[in-house]
Amino acid sequence: MKRRHVQLMCSLGLMAFFVGSAIAQDHNTAEKASGTSAASTAMAASPRPVHDGASPASDAKAKTDERIARLEGEKRFRTNCGRCHQAPHKFPPRVMATAIRHMRVRAMITDEDMRLILQYMTQ
């Protein structure tokens, strides 16, 4: 009986650990998100930097392409990942690269979707 109690306590302890780590992870993510948000707001408010060798027109086009790819990646992410589970937070790039390879096999997402989602999730 003592062994059963130990098993039960271990299970509860494990769950408490995971809950704690999840909450800590969420706080970290929220802090990073607010930091990123503040940074992007500051970038938007500041004068545009001038890049060597790139004309303003090509720079603007590159930015537009990047924004379109990001929007498309987000759309593919919502469309594909949300079919089975809640959309996860972003993970570090190398973690995401493994996860997307796993989901390519498991959920049979297309090659194009995989690339756009990976690009979106690692930006």
Binding site: I23, R83, T98, R101, V105, D111, M114, L118
Partner: protein, 359 residues
Amino acid sequence: MLAGGFAYALAAILRLVPGLVLALFAASLSTAQTPDDVDVKPVPLLTGSTGFISDFTGGQPDLHPIITPLVLVPIGQRWLFETRATFETDMVQVPGRSGFHGGPVQKEVEYAQLDFIANPYMTVTVGRFLTPFGIFNERLYPVWIRNLQSDPLILPIGVGPSNASTGAMVRGGFRANSQINLNYAAYFSALSTVSPVDSARFAGGRAGIFVTKARFEIGGSFQHLLQQERSNLYGFHMIWQPPALPFDVRAEYAHSKSGSGYWVEPAYKLSQLPFLQNELRRTQIVARYQQFFTGELPSDILLPVATREFEFGLNYYFVDGLKASGNYGRQFSVDGNTNIWTMALTYRFVFPLGHAGIQ
């Protein structure tokens, strides 16, 4: 006898090797390559889920801790080794004794497979893999994904013993046009009587059409049993997630000579309500209605009598991967009607086994 079964399974897999090598060779010659040439190097992962599930079926409490680690090891640009195990136990109250008492921890390797991404249209898988019959077993089974913690009554149909196959599979997904993605899987499983990695001898396939704009997927599964009664099994599945609403509905139908049935599961996230938005956007209401009909052949893994069941539940998503669930269900059958209450706390974890890169 077990050794004989294992030898038979091994021999069956070995018989597949020449064909498999040929398929891999042909696939590697395909012009449509570069499946994974993005400049991010994947890292091995220890991920998976854990849960503490308590249910009260007919007034009998049952505590059910479970941990399901999943190891993902990417190899080069085209290979992935993945394996998932389950450690679980059932703890019940014993009359005359205090507290909860359970049996030994059940350990099972659910799958251990090697994937080769041959080209953008095809992945070849060998080893022990989850049988792609319907959608629940392969895509919705983990405790952190499923909306309701109880299994559908028809889950055992078509997935084989231990929900897995031992053999080889080709699968893939590709874009048919700007609105439609197609996906497919075809597999062969050899007989294995070695518990807990037992499997039946069958061949089958699954195909699906995904209308991306409407977020609507429909598909069908087929399987031919190559042992015992050599019967055919078939099923259909559907997922619809309207883009304009935080709503999704999933459904499955499966038929075999041992039984048939269906389940329908709508779920709605309350994020559109104009009050308590921080709480309600994390809250999801779920319902599931299902029916099971007995077949002409007896079965050890399916219910012995025709059964109807309705379940209603509430999920609360605290943070990414952490979810609390509570649901009530009522089961109707000639053996008697039963109330089923379930409470669960589940969590999905991700640990990189190496340098993860900069976020």
